[in-house]
Symmetry: C2
Subunit: 219 residues, 2 copies
Amino acid sequence: MSTAARTAANPAKPAGKRIRRTAEEARRLILDAAEKRLAQQGPEGLRLQDIARDIGISHPAILHHFESREGLVRALIARANTQLRDTMLTALGGGHASSDATDHIGHVFEALSDRGTARLLSWLLLTGRATENSTTHNIMGEIVDALQLRRAEYAEKAGKPTPDKEDTLFMAMLTANAAFGEAIVGRQLAEAVGLDQDGIKRFRNWFAKLLNEHWDGGK
Amino acid sequence: MSTAARTAANPAKPAGKRIRRTAEEARRLILDAAEKRLAQQGPEGLRLQDIARDIGISHPAILHHFESREGLVRALIARANTQLRDTMLTALGGGHASSDATDHIGHVFEALSDRGTARLLSWLLLTGRATENSTTHNIMGEIVDALQLRRAEYAEKAGKPTPDKEDTLFMAMLTANAAFGEAIVGRQLAEAVGLDQDGIKRFRNWFAKLLNEHWDGGK
DNA sequence: AATTATATTGACAACAATGTCAGTACCCGG
DNA sequence: CCGGGTACTGACATTGTTGTCAATATAATT
């Protein structure tokens, strides 16, 4: 059977049942699996065969839906981006006009931690795949605008002068940086200094409070 | 010449000069090249052949010095760790007993940005290669201790009560998180909101000031 | 029921990357 | 000048991964 001359003409397998999904459903399944692998195993765990095995399909099926591995990666990025954007904006815009930053901070951190979004995006940035993708522009811009709006409102009510916009921007940047950092090195750091789950919560609250004080008391 | 039967008995190349380094020198060269590639191209740019080509040697030479690719990676990690540790500690311990956090913050950010150390370590964490390596424990612990010491001193001079140690810890964690975050997403974020190099500097100063105020005014 | 469209598959091709090995050139100490 | 140790190399082996292709099964439509 070494050099058997059956290029492509053998019934061989009468074969059995085959699950057939809608294209959309299949894409979702694949993306979910890829996301999970990425979050758990890191960038090098993103192999078509593995993903395929995880959900019980063959790897060419993935190629069929995403053209190439690169296509899959791009789709992954796109989804993560829009998901993140939605989460953030609803978190910020969501009904409650509380001036308390605590909730916001919590939301931001969780949105990034959730499903390893931050890890995914970090990896994207580390591999330099970010230039093409201009969505970031909008996200960050929108968020800062929303924040500044709230802050201005709040300041007016309290009879204070509208705070500098750059100050608001810096608060947002710090939060973003910290959240990203935490998503990556957080666990390690916490473990290194002997912080448990509850300690991490305390840290987040501490940070929120720090921002809160600055929010009100801003020079 | 398709199936030429010359398994390993052909003079073929009289060959020319060959550079011969000391083992130590060679290792350093290789590590530098690897580091550079990692910082520029990200994790996927770490291919033996590429590194070898960069410094004009053959890839088995790398294998010769590091056993395997994994060996190279481990050496890379180890070096980055000790370098980081040294930089941080000298930065903190360095003569000037200034209570001004600005310098410290600057040092931390720069130590992590420098040569892509943060990117390297991030990648290490993303690929989950961190468990084995317990150096982090010491680094973070030492730093927090040093900080707390300074803070206690400073508080005593000012006649204030010694601040809570967890508070100091949280300041350190925030700084570390922010620095890591900035190293990864910083450039992108800054670009997204239209901050130039000078803006980034302003941001760091702003952050340092925030910490400074907290340092003195601690609840 | 027949037809069409396409999601899915197994086998294979092509390529890239690490790792192995025998041999070669350079340095150093006699 | 000679001999031993070892940094280094070219060619090859091996393995793993993406991508291609023809064939097949399944759902929807007519």
